[in-house]
Amino acid sequence: MILKRLSRKTFDMEKNLYIVIVGCGRLGSLLANQLSQKGHSVLVIDPSEDAFNNLSPGFSGFRIPGDASQLTILKEAKLEKADVFFATTQSDNVNLMVAQVARKLFQVPQVLARIEDPKREDVFNRLGIETICPTSVGAELFLLSVASGRSLRENR
């Protein structure tokens, strides 16, 4: 189900969007690099300056070193102007908190939070926060591959 939703939406981004990404680890930087290359305005927030080394030389967006769970940082990021907000840090609770702040206080239209513990997904979906659990998505891909008896690449 998650996969269907993703494939429909992700690549349908023709106009220039302002995208704020919290967390510049493997996931955050991958998203930032790809979205920046597609011509979107991307802003990345991470407390560790070293994390920004994950951004590719082609990344043309902005970076704010700081803790996104502090309101001042999110204000600095001009969140009220964002079209999309991704929370991708390694801490579920940080992601869930900043995602709610982005959605409820700054009214960002599209908010997605990475969450490692699939048990909590349900609760936060009920709070109106869309979540993506890399573990569940990964497992779904594994199962799909087993069910079809072929590799996913051949499927495409």
């Binding site: 579920d92 609770n93 869930l96 908190m97 609760v123």
Partner: protein, 220 residues
């Protein structure tokens, strides 16, 4: 009452001791194995080792039957999520989060979680206590938005000898009780205030100062 507290440190220890002394049942969730051992030896509370924002741990700790959940960890994001899980998943009637960063009090409230900041409470108390020595007692209630203040009217008070209705109280102030020679009076508009009366005021925090000034005079 069954109180579930998530956190550690001195605040947790003394809160827990206060609750158990009053006869409440206390359950603690703490992330440090060492501290858990220490707590279970020192307190008559159930101690659960684990992450308080994990649904399994919360369930194990009996969140379902708790009357109150207090989240007082040093991490605001954890406190918020713990309280949201407690109320949404386990239907705990009251959950209260500590906002280490005072800015987060407002945010938590907007996200539907009651919050308090010790920085707020202590600084407010110090300001109020320090400014007026006639104040005998002060109690913040309603997450610190309402104050119950007990004060003794000095002879120089501008309200002494006046009926209550002629005092011209600032808005959002209520004179709840007057203690005169150990007799409590619930005052009406015609009652006259005397020097030495101990009066109990209920005020909204933003009107507290002007209310106290009205009763003690601005010469203070």
């Amino acid at each position: 009452m069954r109180v579930l507290i998530v956190g550690g440190g001195k605040m947790l220890f003394f809160l827990c001791r206060a609750f158990t002394e009053k006869g409440h049942e206390v359950i603690i969730i703490n992330r440090s194995r060492e501290e858990c051992v220490h707590l279970s030896r020192q307190l008559s509370a159930t101690v659960v080792f684990g992450d308080g924002s994990d649904l399994v741990i919360l369930k194990e700790a009996g969140a379902m039957g708790a009357d109150v959940v207090l989240a007082i960890t040093p991490h605001d994001q954890d406190n918020l999520i713990i309280c949201q899980l407690a109320s949404i998943q386990f239907h705990v009637p009251r959950s209260i989060a500590l906002a280490n960063d005072p800015d987060n009090v407002g945010i938590f409230e907007k996200l539907g979680v009651s919050a308090f900041s010790t920085t707020h409470i202590v600084s407010r108390l110090i300001e109020q206590r320090a400014s007026l020595e006639q104040i005998v007692n002060l109690l913040p209630i309603g997450e610190g938005r309402v104050n119950v203040t007990e004060l003794v009217l000095p002879a120089y008070s501008p309200v002494v000898g006046k009926p209550l209705k002629k005092i011209g109280l600032p808005e959002n102030v209520l004179v709840a009780v007057v203690m005169r020679d150990l007799h409590p009076i619930v005052p009406r508009g015609d009652d006259i205030l005397l020097a030495g009366d101990r009066i109990v005021l209920i005020t909204l925090t933003e009107h507290h100062e002007s209310a106290v000034k009205a009763f003690l005079g601005s010469g203070n």
